[in-house]
Amino acid sequence: MRGGGVAVCTTTCEYSRLHACSGGLLSFPRTNPIIASKPQPLIGRNRSIPLFTPLRVSGSRGGGRPRMMTMNVAATDTLQKGIAEFYDESSGVWEDIWGDHMHHGFYEPGSDVSLSDHRAAQIRMIEESLRFASLSDDSVQKPRNIVDVGCGIGGSSRYLARKYGAKCNGITLSPVQAQRAQELAAAQGLDGKVSFQVADALNQPFPDGEFDLVWSMESGEHMPDKTKFVNELARVAAPGGRIIIVTWCHRDLSPSEESLRPEEKQLLKKICDAYYLPAWCSTADYVKLLQSLSLEDIKAADWSQYVAPFWPAVIKSALSWKGITSLFRTGWKTIRGALVMPLMIEGYKKGVIKFAIITCRKPAS
């Protein structure tokens, strides 16, 4: 992003109220399913953005640069704590009902799925994402060193480590998730290959160029500073390495639009409050960020049609006897998240919310 184009709240208001600020493109990365302890999103902090910058909204969608909201440090801190607590609270329940993958399944459009199909669909989501990024199973080319950004309880980390015989580091904001992730790795004999740390996706504790696969499965939506988030993904990627981002975005804006419509923003605001999400962006915004970093082979797609059965399934599981009793054992954050689930379905149906995949490759030299 050149220059400004960001508005930052000066007050330490609930991060969600930032989205009520006028102007500014609020993109919400997808909300996380409430019950699901999703991969721990990592909230980053603004490092260099001044506390208050006049909002400059770029003009037409076509030529404009990504309009991103960023947060001041205090609000980011609040968001970060909220996220950690949300996942600390809800992790166990999700795992209990859904297992160790905290992301959407990939389904055939129009298919009829039962609860037992969801695990397979979640695995298919991983495989389809790898395929989309042209990641090969070829023994020479396959990744050896992977980072799972927003790793949750490590489902992807363990899966990828096993698949490629690779080493994998997972980072999450939630100490509870990191602990559980490591336990599961040890139980599955992957203790030597997979390790987890509590860390910030916007300030990854790794050297430059470390990983030949940078994996962010449904964690981008929690990042309050998309620019910083993408910068870090690119920084830690090795030359020739691949970056895979699967995340919730809002719909791309048309050339004549400066922001989402008021009722669309309204819908997203309710969702972001419950799921501890900062401003959303569009798929096009991610593409622009990757382009600005001179990353290569950038591909993006809207996979909303392939995830449609997911939310109804989560709601159904929440309403099951096990779901309800589990919810009662959690806490308000989890319950509030559960209550907001129908809004996710609404967002999809209205075409506001998009399930997006964006992949690219870091230049070899």
Binding site: V73, K167, Q182, G192, S195, V198, F206, P207
Partner: protein
Amino acid sequence: MRLLTHNMLSSNIKGVTNGFPLRIEVEKVVEKEVDLNMDFLRNMFAKIEWKALVEASRTMGYSELPDDAESSMLDSDEFLRKFHHALLELHLEEGALVCPETGRKFPVNKGIPNMLLHEDEV
């Protein structure tokens, strides 16, 4: 936290030019046996910062690693075992990782390092 992990963690506190390697403060070390995988070790050897590994393993109470190493040494079973032991079998369960420039401590609890930065470090 294993030394394999330690070998890639660095302090990215604002203003720090070289946050690697992190010093280790030991409160509790645990040894856990892991199956030796030769291919894995060979792959890792190329990526490991050897001096950092030696230093770290000594802090953890293991002094068997040579000061310097080169890939031909991987042909020796004895070297492989020592490398394997230091890299994968020593765990820092409780303690801290210390930024080499600022002295700031990143706690390690139940084997998990917490690398989150404070507001003023960003």
